[in-house]
């Protein structure tokens, strides 16, 4: 532990994602006597256990926000910043393009570090910490791209990457002796063993290891739904509710001008109830069944088709007739007695 006194103690803001690397990077700096506070940016696309916990079957799983958990392990403050609106331009117009799906990883990293720099300046901090490791996924950590992040974010040599600092040029905090370069790490590549070993050394257990990364935009199924949303609206734009709903229910588009979101169980049913004022919806009256949201303007024939699909997912799926109530977003209600659609008639291409 460093012996810096409070009067000379430097202050660093650490980007805390909730993953292991940012946890370790902050810990390396804390061990050098740096005052560290965490910052976590919420884009709307962040993978959180709670999103999955909407579904009742997942309720037994522990629910925690991993960024908060990390901060608590470190004993530091965490500032969670809503960047939903500002992030739209990053996603819609990424200067460096998308990754394998709709993930604008490099633009996202540049944006977040530029926001961290702004926060650092506004709050009297001295430098920025990230858990980046050279050569590790995602692509924004490629060796040739790390300098791009430094340059385009405007962080310049105030951006410290404690886990791979020994592989990089010395930053201002190193050159000025605020931190000891020799106590930094020289990790590189996709091998996770050095991080796991360091976690063990620090006594960190039960840390998050998200299989699909920390962002829904890296997920193909989610990205497909987002692209469908933009195509249907004929413009690349979204609100928070739009992107929340992409995480919930079965999404079917039986015709270009409307989409159905069919809840899969009680938890999703409850969640979708909150959207009944914004969307038209279908309720199964004669049997237990899902709540179905309607996105689009539907004719009576469309409503019957949609009702037959919704009935297919109800407990009346084998019945001859199911009674269904449709409600438009203007509040107009209609009752239909319809035969549920056989599964063989539900076209695979309707599923988004």
């Amino acid at each position: 532990m460093s012996t810096q006194t409070n009067s000379e103690q430097k202050r660093a803001v650490a980007l805390i994602s909730g993953g292991l690397d940012s946890l370790l990077a902050a810990k390396v700096m804390l061990d050098q006597g740096i005052h560290v506070e965490g910052i976590n940016f919420y884009t709307g696309f962040c993978v959180e256990g709670h999103t999955h916990a909407i579904r009742k079957k997942d309720k037994a799983k522990p629910k925690r926000n991993n960024a908060l958990w990390s901060a608590e392990q470190l004993g530091i403050k965490l500032h969670i910043i809503d960047i939903i609106d500002e992030y739209k331009d990053v996603l819609i117009n990424p200067k460096h393009g998308y990754g394998a799906n709709m993930n604008p990883c490099l633009d996202c990293k540049i944006f977040m570090i530029s926001k961290a720099k702004q926060w650092m300046q506004e709050n009297g901090f001295d430098f920025i910490i990230t858990g980046e490791v050279i050569g590790q996924r995602p692509m924004s950590q490629r060796k040739d791209l790390l300098p791009v992040v430094v340059r385009e974010s405007g962080a310049d040599d105030l951006l410290v990457r404690p886990l791979c600092a020994k592989n990089l040029d010395a930053t201002l905090p190193e050159r000025e002796g605020w931190i000891d370069r020799e106590k930094m790490k020289g990790f590189s590549g996709r091998n996770r063993k050095p991080q796991m070993s360091l976690a063990k050394e620090y006594g960190f257990e039960d840390y998050a290891t998200p299989a699909g990364g920390c962002c829904f935009l890296t997920d193909k199924s989610y990205s497909d739904k987002l692209v469908d949303l933009w195509q249907a609206r004929n413009k690349k734009e979204y609100e928070l509710d739009d992107i929340m709903l992409l995480k919930v229910g079965r999404h079917l588009r039986p015709a270009p001008h409307f989409k159905l979101i069919v809840s899969r169980e009680d938890g999703e049913n409850k969640f979708l109830q909150g959207y009944k004022k914004r969307f038209g919806f279908i309720e199964i009256k004669s049997h237990n069944g899902p709540l179905t949201l309607i996105d689009g303007e539907l004719s009576d024939e469309d409503l019957k088709l949609a009702s037959r699909i919704a009935a297919r997912f109800s407990q009346g799926r084998e019945a001859d007739i199911v009674t269904v109530k449709t409600t438009t977003k203007e509040g107009e209600e209609k009752l239909f007695d319809i035969p549920p659609m056989p599964s063989s008639e539900i076209k695979q291409e309707w599923y988004i």
Binding site: Y42, E48, A53, N65, E72, L78, D82, K270, G274, Y275
Partner: protein
């Protein structure tokens, strides 16, 4: 000491935490804030955020459809 209410229903974490954080930034030490949420994850996250930032969770209620968390702002 004043009492306030915050409606964070129909939002998913971390939005209830962000709303709580932003509201508390406007309040005075000792004030009480009652937060109502529909995301059950808030029952873990808001107390975790309070522990990190030194605020006191006075009460929590889980009535299946909604969770209520009462926070006293740190002095």
């Amino acid at each position: 000491m004043s009492q306030y209410k915050l409606d964070a229903r129909h939002t998913l974490c971390p939005m209830p935490v962000i709303k709580t954080q932003n509201k508390i930034a406007e309040l005075q030490p000792g004030d009480l804030l009652e937060v109502t949420c529909t995301d059950p994850g808030a029952l873990n996250d808001i107390p975790a955020w309070c522990r990190i930032n030194g605020h006191l969770v006075k009460e929590t209620h889980d009535n299946d459809d909604e969770v209520i968390i009462v926070v006293q702002v740190a002095s």
